[in-house]
């Protein structure tokens, strides 16, 4: 893929953390050799369980942490070269984060205008001080908070969880970003209001051309929203490709497991299925596939070498030795509408 088509591209990005006492040599492999790209005006869903490393990827993309190895390119330029404050500020203007917990992200002592005005002052030199309020109201309106002129003077406790998360998107949007990193933005909200925020992200993509990295453990919402889906397990990307392929014809056994875990309210739970596993904490790992302990198809070779992410069809990548030899997923998911 030519680099100029991608807004952000990660190449073999790795992040290790030291664990144990300071003299310990033990390393936690939070992210290992992850390569993916986010196209302009696209939504990429990064899907995985707790502990899979997806939030570390967000921190790396947000430049809140530097990779141990590998390189991240934004608009074709390597992030390792973004060192000086003006360049960092420019990056933070273009790449914004929306956090998971809308209840702890805002200072309860200030009206929401407080942090929005600060963002405007820092990131929007083109807006004259007298016009800042009007610009903020325009953005609040855009994320569906109306009447904006009233909302702007509210305190956080006067807003519902869904409204607070919309404020989070407004703050991100205020700097006119090209990419929003949304880390589980709806998982703390009631199911009934999640859909509104998913629609908001789709609208931002369609109207403003903003790209979104949508981090989630809810694979059904990834299906609803994303153009591209990347599935992570224990720090590794295990499957990556267009949503229609990854979620309709999943090839990696882990993706198949995730899909089978989606609650289908119309079917009574059968008690025969058993999977109480969770991603291992990967400390100084040996060679071998990290999913092999939970994998129904694991073979000897899965413990001997680590499967690399490779193409199984055009644009559809899988890190599994066995998958290419199996017929495309005996997926329980029908391709027809209900």
């Amino acid at each position: 893929m030519p680099a100029d088509e991608d807004l952000l591209r990660a190449e073999s990005v790795t992040k290790h953390f030291g664990v144990g006492p300071p003299w310990s040599r033990r390393r936690l492999h939070a992210v290992d050799d992850v390569s993916l790209s986010i196209g302009a005006g696209r939504i990429v869903a990064l899907v995985g369980e707790s502990g899979s490393g997806k939030s570390t990827v967000v921190r790396l993309f947000a430049m809140l942490a530097r990779p141990t190895a590998g390189e991240i390119y934004f608009e074709g330029r390597p992030l390792s070269k973004v060192r000086r404050r003006p360049a960092q500020l420019a990056y933070r203007r273009k790449v914004r984060i929306v956090f998971q917990d809308p209840f702890s992200v805002s200072n309860p002592a200030y009206r929401i205008s407080h942090s929005l005005l600060r963002t405007a002052r820092l990131h929007r030199p083109d807006v004259r001080p007298a016009n800042r309020r009007a610009e903020i109201e325009r953005v609040l309106d855009e994320v569906g908070l109306s009447p904006a002129s009233e909302i702007i003077d509210r305190f956080p406790f006067e807003l519902s969880g869904g409204q607070r998360q919309r404020v989070g998107f407004a703050e991100a949007l205020l700097s006119r970003p090209r990419l929003i990193l949304a880390d589980e933005p709806v998982s703390m909200l009631d199911v009934s209001i999640r859909i509104g925020l998913l629609n908001l992200m789709a609208d931002l993509r369609d109207r403003e051309g903003v790209s979104v990295l949508y981090v989630t453990h809810d694979i059904a919402s990834a299906w609803y929203l994303a153009d591209t889906v990347a599935v992570m397990y224990a720090g590794k990307l295990v499957e990556y490709g267009p949503a229609e392929r990854v979620l309709r014809a999943p090839r990696h056994p882990y993706t198949q497991l995730l899909l089978s875990a989606v609650p289908d309210p119309r079917v009574v739970l059968t008690l025969t299925e058993e999977d109480v596993g969770e991603p291992p904490r990967v400390i100084d790992p040996d060679e071998g596939c990290r999913f092999r302990w939970r994998c129904p198809y694991a073979q000897d070779r899965c413990a001997e070498a680590t499967p690399a992410l490779g193409p199984i069809e055009v644009g559809h990548h899988v890190a599994c030795f066995v998958a290419p030899e199996m017929a495309p997923a005996p997926s329980s998911v029908p391709t027809e509408a209900l």
């Binding site: 369980e49 707790s50 502990g51 519902s160 969880g161 869904g162 009631d190 199911v191 009934s192 209001i193 999640r194 859909i195 509104g196 998913l198 629609n199 789709a202 453990h217 809810d218 694979i219 059904a220 919402s221 299906w223 609803y224 929203l225 979620l247 497991l257 995730l258 899909l259 875990a261 989606v262 609650p263 289908d264 309210p265 119309r266 079917v267 009574v268 739970l269 008690l271 299925e273 058993e274 999977d275 109480v276 969770e278 998911v333 029908p334 027809e336 509408a337 209900l338």
Partner: protein, 326 residues
Amino acid sequence: MAEDAVLSVRNLTVDYLTESGAVRAVDAVDLELHAGGFLGIVGESGSGKSTLLFAIAQLLNPPAEIVSGEVHFNGRDLVTLGESQLRHLRWREFSVVMQSAMNALNPVRSLGAQMRDACEEHGKISAQEIRKRSSEVLRMVGIDPVHLRSYPHQLSGGMRQRAMIAMALLFEPQLVIMDEPTSSLDVVAQRSLMIQIKRLQERLGFAVVFVTHDMSLVGGVGDELAVMYGGKIVELGPTQRIFSKPLHPYTAGLLEAFPSIQAVRRRLTGIPGSPPDLRLRIAGCRFADRCPDAGNECTRVDPPEEQIDGRLVRCIRVAERASRAG
């Protein structure tokens, strides 16, 4: 009260006494749960579902207050019992699993120590029996008893929730009340916890009241489902029947609110608007201003409970809709 009912709630009403007047969070709720049954209670934030659960477990604190109604558990009305009598029942006959295991567990005590506390507080058994029973309940929920020595931060979120459930089962209660026990977990852990609860229930025979905002969770497991809105139960009946043919427009909206992995991709709208402000006395149906099906009369008449198609529904246009749906 039916013969085999373990829990029977009658006309339960809870007010929050605020400076600007009483806010009715739970309004004349009737519920019944048979021994070994599974009752799901779903609703949005502010629907009163957690207040209802706290009222059933007699855990309400001021300014919340039970204004009227009865909570019959094993033939006794919990509302009339004093604290010392309730203490005798808690853990032994009914137990509560709270939403956030991280907050409900003591971070500076090991699991074993916390189980010992509960046992010593509520029963008179020897240290050896306590150890045996603690290992036993942990094994039941799929946790290795070596974790009796672990502290909460050493466990994953899913294990913490399972440990909470293990503690709730220390005394083989007949009723376990659960307040969104899975909401902090991811999808895979949620599913394995639901399977675990269902399996334990089949083995030990306790009844479950399960409160959640995520309707899709209880679809596969619940016997009975109560949908709450604005402090009232708007639809109550067998879970599968409600899922296959919701009769209240709010239930139908909830079912439409989450994307399905099965469906083709199309834009969903959810339920526009937000839950009613319970400080205001609403004359008609509380859902009327968000209801796609509301007519003029809906804003005037408070819908009575109607028995239709094996369930109770609060909607004055329900008969019309039921016949339309076939």
